[in-house]
Assembly symmetry: C2
Homo-oligomer: 269 residues x 2
DNA sequence: CTTGACTCTCCCGTAACGGGAGGCGGTAAG
DNA sequence: CTTACCGCCTCCCGTTACGGGAGAGTCAAG
């Protein structure tokens, strides 16, 4: 016969857990001293205790274990219960794998933002971009009315989104009122969406510039970029792209002074 | 401005959850009517609410989300936090995969026991068994002293066990006192264990018989099996094997009348 | 004015224990 | 014999992220 402390050291269960299992009727002490209330466990209980430890490790609830122990003889039921439990465990495993993948995407996006933040000192860069599959809604109007369109698009694309949202500008010169633009979001696989077009942006070498600050100041950065294009004597293809690396709609609304927008101008080769 | 019910329908969060987030300072209503206590949410809060939903789906705790939102500007910290979280998520994913595998083994063993139970009507069967890697402790003595040996073996092999324990009998005739036997347990991969030998049982065609009942009655089943061997005029190889499909030590102590033990007699070819 | 739908606060419950207070029992040292 | 200490007991509260429900007040329509 062991006291609860000894039994605890033998089985690895805490004293608290042993008392709890006693209360729940899961693992009864062999005898209890009527005077002192001390619990005593026979050596034969060790095996049961270890079985309980194992079942707990397998994520059975205390109630389930109590049921299993009670109906230990009814083999058919037992198998059913085991298989049901396996289902829920598998579902959890899948869920966590999925969360892991989603977190990975989130983290890599965040990392991108950080590096963009560090290089966003109004420096130009030439990037050679791979082809990019996007879903988009093209329209005519004023740029600043794009908000609701992004809302629509997000709802349509949902979890298929594979990157930050962007705007594609098809005009060859700046227009305030009747601009021809498309709100778009990268996707991983071709989808069929009604109300949104899925198409591929061709690979391109781009002159890029990361704009830091509120959207009202985008004009300055555009001016700088176009000046650089002019200085180099190159020509640009349409559509040009605006990538909203960090803005109000990405995940959190932050300080507009820290918004990051990457401007991409495809160069004619 | 939306009432809490409208906001709930828009965001998919329950009213209870919204009130809870209010209490926790996670998602404050835009304004609260001083008289009535009614909460009102501006449309601009929808985005934050959806972000919170997403972060909750990614298994961030409410406290973590509050922290993230508070220190949203401190990008380095944020990445660290994300990566720490990713670690724990990955650990959970691995844990559940492992549990799934262990449950699978448990279930398939249980299934084996069940089919053995159904065919255990003293029927013989010829099985062709693949080679089997085991860890064992060989000794001389009385069969009934094998209990502590199984204890030792289990502790040494631990989680590498890949099936029910067994006993190998090397004697060519029955001995009570000075038997030459080995307690063994299947393992998946070769291990180095001190105090236990790892070796491979060769593939063999066996005459098998499942004994149902307490171990004291094993003698009857042995007699039947040996009679059958004699009738067929075949010879048997050593060691013969006793597989403890269901007994006191497997997982639960059950009714000895339902113990299952498979006897395997390798036939000389 | 009534009615029904909505909202408020407050309290309890969940699962599986952990932490701690306050008290009892046994033992060893001073 | 007292004191100190260790182990055990019971009882109560705390954890997480809400859900359920009671009892009371509020809003908008008919």
């Amino acid at each position: 016969m062991f006291t609860i402390g000894e039994f605890s050291r033998i089985t690895g269960l805490t004293v608290k857990a042993l008392r709890f299992y006693h209360d729940e009727g899961l693992l009864l002490p062999t005898c209890v001293d009527e005077q002192t209330g001390y619990r005593y466990y026979a050596e034969s209980k060790v095996e049961l205790a270890l079985a309980i430890v194992e079942l707990r490790r397998l994520e059975f609830s205390v109630q389930q274990i109590a049921d299993l122990l009670a109906r230990i003889d009814d083999d058919a039921d037992l198998l059913d219960e085991l298989e049901r439990h396996k289902q829920t465990i598998d579902a959890e495993a899948r869920r966590f794998r999925r969360i892991g993948r989603d977190l990975d995407r989130f983290i890599s996006h965040q990392r991108e933002v950080r590096t963009a933040m560090q290089t966003a000192t109004l420096e130009f860069a030439d990037k050679s971009l791979p082809p990019l599959l996007v879903a988009g809604i093209r329209t005519r109007g004023r740029y600043r009315d794009c908000g609701p369109l992004f809302g629509q698009l997000c709802r349509k694309v949902g979890r298929h989104a594979a990157g930050p949202p962007m705007m594609l500008c098809y005009d060859t010169e700046f227009r305030e009122d009747d601009a021809d633009f498309e709100v778009a979001v990268p996707i991983r696989k071709p989808l069929v969406l009604d109300g949104a077009a899925v198409h591929e942006l061709p690979a391109a070498t781009c002159l890029t510039l990361v704009h830091r600050g509120p959207y009202e100041d985008l004009g300055n950065s555009y001016a700088k970029a176009l000046a650089e294009v002019h200085r180099r004597g190159v020509e640009i293809d349409r559509p040009t792209r605006e990538i909203y690396l960090k803005g109000p709609g990405i995940f959190f609304r932050g300080n507009p002074k820290k918004y990051l927008t990457e401007l991409q101008f495809p160069l004619k080769s």
